[in-house]
Symmetry: C2
Subunit: 348 residues, 2 copies
Amino acid sequence: MSSENTFHGWAAVAKDKPLVWTELPLKNFDDDSVDMKVSHCGVCGSDIHTQNEDWGRSNFPCVTGHEIVGECTRVGKNVQHIKVGDRIGVGAQSGSCGECKQCKRGEENICQGPRTSTYNSHYPNGDKSFGGYADKWRGHQRFVFKIPDNMTNEVAATFFCAGVTTYSPLKRYGVNSSSKVGVIGIGGLGHFAVQWAKAMGAEVVALSSSDRKRDDAVELGCDHYVVTSRPEEVKPHMGTFTHILTTHVSNDFDWNMYFNMIDTNGYFIMVALPEAPLSGIPSMTLACRQIALVGSLIGSPAMIEDMLNFAAEHNVKPWLNKYSMKDCNEAIQAFKDGKPRYRIILEN
Amino acid sequence: MSSENTFHGWAAVAKDKPLVWTELPLKNFDDDSVDMKVSHCGVCGSDIHTQNEDWGRSNFPCVTGHEIVGECTRVGKNVQHIKVGDRIGVGAQSGSCGECKQCKRGEENICQGPRTSTYNSHYPNGDKSFGGYADKWRGHQRFVFKIPDNMTNEVAATFFCAGVTTYSPLKRYGVNSSSKVGVIGIGGLGHFAVQWAKAMGAEVVALSSSDRKRDDAVELGCDHYVVTSRPEEVKPHMGTFTHILTTHVSNDFDWNMYFNMIDTNGYFIMVALPEAPLSGIPSMTLACRQIALVGSLIGSPAMIEDMLNFAAEHNVKPWLNKYSMKDCNEAIQAFKDGKPRYRIILEN
């Protein structure tokens, strides 16, 4: 292998084993390819699930990481919107079929044909896809974005998954200055949701299981903080939310309470991806309050562009815990221990 | 009791007993009251559930029926939009608080304050409300509507519950000539849903468990009829519906199949009111296809007005099985036996 067509990355090699720094082949370079020298990569829950085979068999060796930013070092001859030297980023998706109606509508994130995830997946020619816990990345231009001039690489990285996953549904379901948004789960996703909703002009309330994150929530911009096990804190907000966004669904999730907190004709947005089917959904409350329970999956290329511009304009920034790329296994352990406040980023 | 302030109606007097023709008091007549000489009343599933106490204790004697039309015989001095001699109708709701934000937004159907159902309920002064299996009806002007000139009483009656229950969500979620609408359950509600969607310009498909209603569905306007247990019939429609509306949810409901039949970003509309919480909702499909699962409850006064005009303009008509009011118990038995094709109406 020539070094031009290989990279080094932290590869998961077996379930529940430490990642191993490994040399692996980049996909073939074609007319639509973009090469990146990785400067930063965020650590996402999906990475850990894939390393641990929580979502089914992983194709080891697997280099995870899908919040990848860095400098463009080479472009194929079809590439117009990116040039060598640009600061660029890529998220959880690196390919879509281009043929289905979703792709033709610019909704590549919900492409129904063959699609390429940024890691643990394949390109159409059969080459494996690899993520950003690495020194280099190569992929298709369609899913590579230029980072706005007034945004650092470090700030940009985690927008590409956690950012757009929360921005997209809030934007799609019309959050604005008349909205009141509840966020369940102040964490990697939730701390973005709070900031987006606030920047969209909404009143924002953190809905939490304990007081633990009260100060952080206020600093992030929450107007109120509610511990949902305390009826006296919940009561003033009953029936008032235009939108509630949840980043997780537990087995004892109190659907009825949350549906009753939403204003009639309001939205309950799930950005969680629980494996088990949902149960206990109170159909009478859904009907009598005319609630919409909606799912959402990352975001389209157009939504990513829109988000980057919005973030630059409104100075939305992740809260980051930075680790050197060489300390990747320590960073993963910190993630497993629930330490990030609120997103871990690896730096080359 | 003077006969001016009483009426005769078919009263449920105990669970699972035949209805009894009984003289009962009308509510007090006030400045907002409208009196009606009933010409027709539809028979709705809710009537049977209330007679049988399926939804909890009923306040016997209870006169059911909430698709009531007839001639206005008296109006209170505040009543402007109705005059004596007008042909009028009333649906499932006869009162709302007028004070909550839903009422102030014109969404009285989802009023969150004290509300009055047309039967088995109370007016604010404590008087019982009674429905339309009767010779007379009296209620509040806000929920009384003038029937369009080119629509007979008989045609109008069942619009007031079954009609608006299906019209309202199809209208609210934007069904138009670009839509493809699936209807699960060709019955009292479903046969309206098909006609509304068709009149809104959509392609319409009946989704049924057997071939039994194929001819009816085509006559109602369906473009296709799919028996959902036959994969070869389902397959061409996978991922193509902008909206699926269901009138019932069974225990073995195949949520995953229906969600996969809906186009991405499409709507699954529940007009059913199952008592049990929903289970088995496939969260991954909800997310990955960005489906909205939405509930809906009858319709607001504004929606009822809109529906009546739309029905008159597009010549939408229920399929009726007519019984004389005196044969009310026979009609109820026919309903229980699943005979209506597709809505039973009682005629004085």
